[in-house]
């Protein structure tokens, strides 16, 4: 059908007239081209804002400065550039480029992915502190921080890992970009969004007044990577400008549960028992990894629903076998186009195979992450003072003003 159609189009049904009146053919006008330099300005500003955020968080210790930087990032990366490309979404481009031969990743997108990670490795999560527009909009609306129960916190904190796994799987199999599709705030940046996005974003913002940064904490897939990288950061924001006096004034001020108390006063556990527990947990890691692998391998048929071709194949098959009419736009277009059902089903099988492989890896990653987090819970720590949890700390600087330690006869918050 379409073949015939194309031939008809190719033919001149009505040949171009030969004008006698000296008519000049107008130029075939294409709309304007895209300005090429924006991405490089973005990149320069990304590096600039990251450096400034690092300086403000680590050296200047200024919460106010970080807030103003957030305002700038929200205005520029959010409202001016309308939220694209952001490092959060670039995870998918990298996954797509890694696992597909026909996609080439623009150098700017790759750098957008890597640069915040490099900064995390050097200075902690300064990207979250004042550069990420998604973080900034939540940081600026978090007025009344409330602490969540530990149990809720520890369950919810695993969601970003699963989200990251699914997003990478979905992007790597060329199915869809989950992170972009369910980005809660990009509609606000563009002042234009489908109502589902408005509701999701609005709910998150309202919840964020009390549960600060809900997206960052419980959804953000890039945050998982920043969390891991920041744990190994060479330098990191400190709560106190000098020596911690264990005054406990900062104990309850962090809404992100990212302040680790000093535990010199905690009664030491029996070393023998502790060591045994540690070993047991380490030995459990392979078990968790295998469990995750098996679980996700078996889940893969359900996950293939993320792919539109698989959805189409299912619809066509349902029509063929059960007589349920396939009426979706994709099904109608498929019927019009020349592709046969055998081709479609063969493609579906191939996608299934890719998902089976991919989801096994996702399961493995999640299992190992879970195992490692248990190990870190079981490890004894010896902290002489109150320190930020390097993985969870967003370097927001809320804790600065609560520290009474003086430097150069100044209170730490006098420097603001």
């Amino acid at each position: 059908m379409l073949g015939w159609h194309a031939v008809m189009v190719a033919q001149d049904r009505f040949p171009r007239p030969e004008f006698e009146s000296g008519y000049v053919y107008p130029e075939h006008q294409m709309p304007l081209q895209r300005a090429p330099y924006w991405e490089y300005i973005d990149l320069a500003l990304l590096i600039g804002t990251l450096s400034l955020a690092s300086w403000l968080a680590l050296k200047k210790r200024s919460r106010e400065g970080l807030l103003w930087l957030s305002v700038f990032s929200l205005a520029y990366f959010g409202f001016v550039r309308e939220g694209c490309v952001c490092p959060v979404g670039s995870v998918q481009n990298v996954a797509l480029a890694l696992f597909n031969s026909d996609y080439t990743i623009p150098i700017t997108v790759l750098l957008f992915f890597i640069i915040p990670l490099v900064y995390a490795l050097a200075f902690g999560r300064v990207f979250c502190a004042g550069v990420c527009p998604l973080g900034a909009i939540q940081e600026l609306t978090g007025f009344r921080p409330v602490k969540l129960p530990k149990a809720v916190e520890s369950v919810m904190i695993s969601v970003p890992f699963i989200y990251l796994g699914l997003a990478v799987l979905s992007a790597a199999t060329e199915s869809q970009f989950l992170i972009c599709r369910y980005d809660p705030f990009v509609g606000i940046f563009r002042l234009n969004a489908p109502y589902t996005m408005v509701i999701f974003g609005g709910l998150l913002l309202v919840a964020g007044i009390f549960i600060n940064r809900p997206y960052c904490r419980y959804f953000c897939p890039y945050g998982v990577l920043l969390n891991i990288f920041s744990r190994f950061s060479s330098r990191h924001l400190t709560i106190t400008p000098a020596e911690c006096t264990n005054c406990r004034l900062c104990e309850d001020v962090c809404p992100y549960d990212a302040i680790l108390p000093s535990d010199v006063s905690a009664p030491p556990e029996e070393p023998q028992k502790e060591r045994r527990r540690f070993l047991v947990y380490v030995l459990l890691i392979p078990l968790f990894a295998a469990g995750g692998l098996l679980l996700f391998r078996n889940l893969s048929p359900a996950l293939t629903g993320l792919n539109s071709n698989v959805q189409l194949a299912r619809e066509i098959r349902a029509e063929k076998e059960n007589g349920i009419p396939a009426v979706s736009k994709a099904a109608l277009a498929f019927k019009e186009a020349g592709k046969t059902e055998t081709e479609l089903f063969a493609e579906e099988l191939k996608i299934h195979e890719r998902f089976r492989k991919g989801s096994s890896w996702v399961g493995l990653f999640l299992g190992i992450s879970f195992g490692l987090s248990l190990v870190s819970l079981a490890t004894r720590t010896r902290r002489a003072g109150y320190v930020p949890h390097k993985g969870k700390c967003y370097s927001c600087g809320r804790c600065f003003k609560y520290c009474p330690v003086h430097v150069n006869n100044k209170r730490s918050d006098d420097k603001v």
Partner: protein, 191 residues
């Protein structure tokens, strides 16, 4: 006791160092692995007019309102018909410029008399909302000189084009920044 503490400390440092190497490796490795797949120029989203079936999704699925998709006109392909399938609705009684006769719901196409019996058709891009009705009409009854393209000046470059996700015929795809548009020429390429 003091010595024991030192052992713990060094062990901890060792684990930390090993972890650091583990996370630094992908940061250095990633650009190396991807070195062959990196392009200096970016990608933009564009409609392949030869795949497009004018389903109307472009108008409603773009994150922008009105859509960044606009109809463009390849004059070299146009037959300059009086009875234009892209300009006039099917089954009109008279050929006139009356609104009820026009295919375009926003009156974005205007026509100008050239010489008997030929008319030149021009698209007013500001009015066009990318519904593709004229494109369908032109493809069905004319030479197919009207077609849809994403206006790169309006497009906000979503990482995943919302139209691409909903396009039933996979006509929207990433093209190189250098190309930006897929023009329709007189001869249809060997698709």
């Amino acid at each position: 006791m003091k010595e024991k503490k030192n052992i713990y400390q060094s062990r901890r440092d060792f684990v930390r160092k090993a972890g650091k190497i583990l996370v630094v490796a992908p940061v250095i490795g990633l650009p190396l692995v991807l070195s062959k797949k990196v392009s200096a120029s970016g990608n933009v989203w564009q409609i392949d007019p030869h795949k497009c079936t004018q389903c109307g999704q472009c108008k409603t699925n773009c994150v922008l309102t009105p859509s960044a998709v606009k109809a463009v006109h390849a004059y070299v392909m146009c037959g300059y018909c009086d009875l234009c399938g892209g300009y006039l609705r099917q089954g009109v009684k008279t050929i006139s410029t009356a609104a009820e006769d026009q295919m375009c719901p926003t009156a974005a196409i205007t026509r100008k008399f050239v010489e008997e019996p030929y008319f030149e058709y021009t698209i007013n891009e500001d009015l066009c909302d990318g519904c593709g009705k004229c494109v369908k009409g032109c493809a069905d009854f004319g030479n197919g000189s009207l077609y849809l393209q994403i206006n790169q000046d309006l497009c906000v470059y979503c990482n995943e084009c919302s139209i691409a996700r909903n396009c039933p015929s996979d006509a929207v795809s990433r093209v190189s920044d250098r190309m930006q548009y897929i023009p329709k020429e007189k001869k249809v390429g060997g698709e």
